[in-house]
Amino acid sequence: MYEAVHVAPDGESPAADVVERAARLGFEGVVILARDATPDHDALGDEAGVDVVDGVEIVAPDPERASGAVGGHRPEHTLLAVRGGTDRLNRFAVENERVDVLTRPMADDGDVNHVLANRAAANGVRIEFDLGPVLRKTGGRRVQALRGLRKLRELVADAGAPFVVSASAPSRLGLRAPRELVAVGEAVGFDPAAVRVGLQEWGELAARNRHRRSASFVEPGVERGPYDDEGSS
């Protein structure tokens, strides 16, 4: 299972600490969602013995600026996420096939409806279930977050939209082990198997995108085969 993390300067902890703790908690890999951070993914992965995925998270105030950033970052990174949080940004992300993940769609003023969930399913944009507020907030804030998660869960299930699960840890201490996340998900009404699928989805996305970026890939279903001399005529 994989987890998406933020590292310094976007998060509070240095990349090496975050990756090391994630490895200790039993994750197979981590996706570093960078904004300003420029970690050395291969060196971090070798050090900790986990797969470290080169991801980027686009945090923009409006779709116009997000759109420019998507175009600029897409060729350079394995995984591209757009942070939601307003209706317009959520709409932009799910309409855009080049976006892999829509993060924190229900944060702040953001909302999702059946139209957006169906668009996400059609475009293969993963919707993130952010367990962070469930873990770290209490009282009214947590109730709001839970209400958002429940609504999102029903919409995603109805539309058959793909999804990912994350604890959106702000620092290394905010990370929680996969089994803990499954238990928390179950306590707040998720199907435990769905939480596991959501944690694995980060890894599957990374594998798919790496394959797409490899030299043999032409387009979905079309690849350069291994028969260049004798096989071709």
Binding site: R21, R24, L25, V134, L135, R136, T138, G139, R142, S171, R172, L173, G174, L175, R176, A177, R179, E180, L181, A183, V184, E186, A187, V188
Partner: protein
């Protein structure tokens, strides 16, 4: 009070918990116990919290390393809610902490011996 016959005594599971915080912080058992109770009460509610009946039995903390271990007792069959409640412990005595269940045992001795 006379102790209960064996088949009526509650059965327990013991969770070996690793606690991590910044080096130099000092945490003690009562702070951790309070944080666990609050987390369980807030996440599981009064009824769920009473069912899980979480109690911190052992707590050791190395202030220099900022790491510690605890043995937390939970009622048999309530390990999943207990795990969820422990995952929601994010602050102990004003220090932010990372909590991780390393394993679950049927006896306290097993818990402390295997996951020291």
């Amino acid at each position: 009070m006379k102790h209960l016959p064996k088949h009526l005594r509650p059965r327990w599971r013991y969770l070996a918990v690793a606690v991590e915080t910044r080096p130099g912080a000092s945490l003690d058992r009562s702070d951790f116990q309070r944080a666990v109770w609050y987390a369980a009460g807030n996440l599981l509610g009064d009824a769920g919290s009473a069912d899980a009946d979480l109690r911190v039995l052992r707590f050791s903390f190395d202030s220099d390393a900022g790491e510690g271990t605890a043995a937390v007792r939970a009622r048999h069959g309530e390990v999943r809610p207990a795990r969820a409640a422990l995952a929601c412990v994010t602050e102990v005595g004003g220090e932010s902490v990372g909590v991780h269940v390393r394993g679950v045992s049927g006896t306290l001795r097993g818990c402390t011996a295997k996951y020291r």
